[in-house]
């Protein structure tokens, strides 16, 4: 009789997830329900203060800014990534384009953000170019506002959106489009009603790969964000730990981010399952 080793094979993975994900999240979860220590740390008394603080108008405003920036970045990323993925999948030089998409990863993330400072800065390349062309008299301040944050976030996570889209579009049977046209669909209609539903899982992956990291962004708003309207939850957490020394509140905020991203993942799993069911029904 053959023994089933399946569960043993998953042990390293289970160990890894427990040690580096579950345990830290549980500690953060626990801390969020404790009293703050006066000089940082926690006092072991149960308290809901951290969650009560979340009802303050300031916090809700910061949450609003964070949602605005991350949702808009995600939408823009998808809008750019879809045609890119489509073009790549239909192109004859697929591997070249794949390589080009991966190139930015060869440089450190922070250095690429600093590069954006050099491009968009008041004395940066873009302003110099526009002034030399005589289009503007004085510099335009591109950097240090919420739009700069959105631009750099879109730039940063674009490859993560293009890759899953490319791989699903590549598997898409393009003769279906021709069939749709034969049956009288206009060109846009064939794309919208035949292609988009078929590459749905790729779209959902792209959205998640962009939304999850942008929702918890810290470095980008810190470096290219500005005086107001670009202070995000990630920055709030850092402030609460380093300046205000309110660990429970920082923990509670972190739990909120984890919950939102987990909900997004749940939606993904649910969408995939219902897609699979729909496919099954079709077959029957």
């Amino acid at each position: 009789m053959k023994k089933n080793y399946g569960s043993i094979y998953t042990l390293p993975m289970a160990f890894w997830v427990t040690l580096f994900f579950l345990v830290p999240v549980l500690i953060v979860f626990l801390y969020s329900f404790l009293e703050r220590g006066e000089h940082g740390g926690v006092v072991w008394i149960f308290s809901l203060n951290a969650y009560r603080d979340m009802l303050s108008p300031t916090f809700i405003h910061i949450l609003g800014i964070t949602l605005f920036i991350s949702l808009l970045s995600t939408a823009l990323t998808l809008l750019i990534a879809l045609p890119c993925g489509y073009y790549m999948a239909r192109s004859r030089r697929k591997s070249l384009y794949l390589f080009l998409i991966i190139i930015p990863f060869l440089t450190n993330f922070l250095i690429r953000i600093y590069a954006w400072q050099a491009i968009l800065g008041n004395s940066g390349f873009l302003n110099n170019l526009l002034m030399r062309l005589g289009l503007i008299d004085n510099y335009i301040q591109f950097l240090y506002n919420e739009w700069a944050v959105i631009i750099v976030l879109v730039y940063s996570y674009l490859p993560y959106a293009i890759l899953p889209l490319y791989s699903t579009i590549e598997k898409f049977d393009f003769s279906l489009l021709e069939a749709a046209r034969d049956l009288g669909a206009s060109h846009p209609a064939s794309i919208l009603r035949v292609m988009i539903p078929n590459i749905r899982s790729g779209i959902i992956s792209a959205v998640l790969f962009t939304f999850i990291p942008t929702f918890g962004a810290y470095a980008v708003p810190k470096l290219v964000g500005g005086g107001r309207n670009s202070f995000m939850l990630g920055n709030l957490i850092a402030d609460e730990i380093l300046v205000n020394r309110n660990w429970p509140f920082a923990s509670a905020t972190s739990i909120l981010i984890t919950l939102v991203t987990t909900a997004a993942m749940g939606l993904y799993v649910f969408a995939n399952k219902s897609a699979a069911r729909a496919a099954q029904r079709k077959r029957i």
């Binding site: 940082g40 800065g121 004395s123």
Partner: protein, 341 residues
Amino acid sequence: MKKIPVWGLLLAVVIVAGGCSKESEKLNFYNWVTYIPDDVRQDFETETGIEIVLEEFASNEEMYAKLKAGGAGYDVTIPSGDFVSIMIREGMLEKIDMSRVPNFKHLDPEFLAKIEFDPGNQYSVPFFAGAAGITVNTRQVPDFEKSWKIFYREDLRGRMTMLDDMREVMGDALKFLGYSVNTRNPEELEQAKKVVGDWRDRIVKFDAETFGPAFARGEFWVVQGYVENVFTELEESMAENAEFFIPEEGGPMYLDSMVILKGAKNIDAAYRFINFIQRPDINARIADFLTIPSLNLEARKLMKEQTAYSYEDLKRCEFKEDLGKDVELYDEIWHEIRIGM
């Protein structure tokens, strides 16, 4: 802070390792990153035969967390004033026997009188004090008043930055209004919030990381921050066109003090070290290295370098105290400022 070149560190390691062969007295010293020049440390070691075992921290919070966790075994460290008061309250410090620090007498009595976190210096011996100020690019901004008013200037909109540090910026606004940087009065804080709000709308951003290089590139013309964070980035030609000042209204300042930790094993070495640091010639060398004024009256006479600001400038400033839980008053206002409320 200046960066010590790697070879300097290596050299120090070799020298320290070389001294290890014979069983010598030790001092476990927990210091800020690059706060004491290497040659001063070596002179202490050759003079006294006491070996300094050095570890470094980058923030008070980091130092405090490590000491709180226990078992670090340090003898001497250099917290800022607010943390000295916390550590006294928590019983983490050894009382200082001033008869063993004869050089204490050189310290400026006028300055010592301002110390409220440890009145009468029962637990701490001042090391150095300093304050953030404003650096101006004089080529782009030839005319300016040495006042916080500069952040109201419309013509400099988009060319100015302030520190991403709520105690500093709120403290500046409070001083500008003539209040204490440690106020807990909601009325005064509300006024300060309005002032900082007006500044926020004219500055580019609150930034504690990149303003130095950006000033050096000519991107920003007026930056508020610590002098060493700007001038270490400047080439000589640029440094000629940069002027640092502490505004006439004053601002918050810090004082880092040497303390002996409870349970220190090398008490004798600790006293000799603290006394050594306040020896006028040694203190003058450290002040020259840091380019900030010395608190040691005798050392002031021996200094060779021109400091970025004078002791007189510091007189206008006020120590930041630990606010305990009241720090939340500032925190809330600061976040409201940051989101434009």
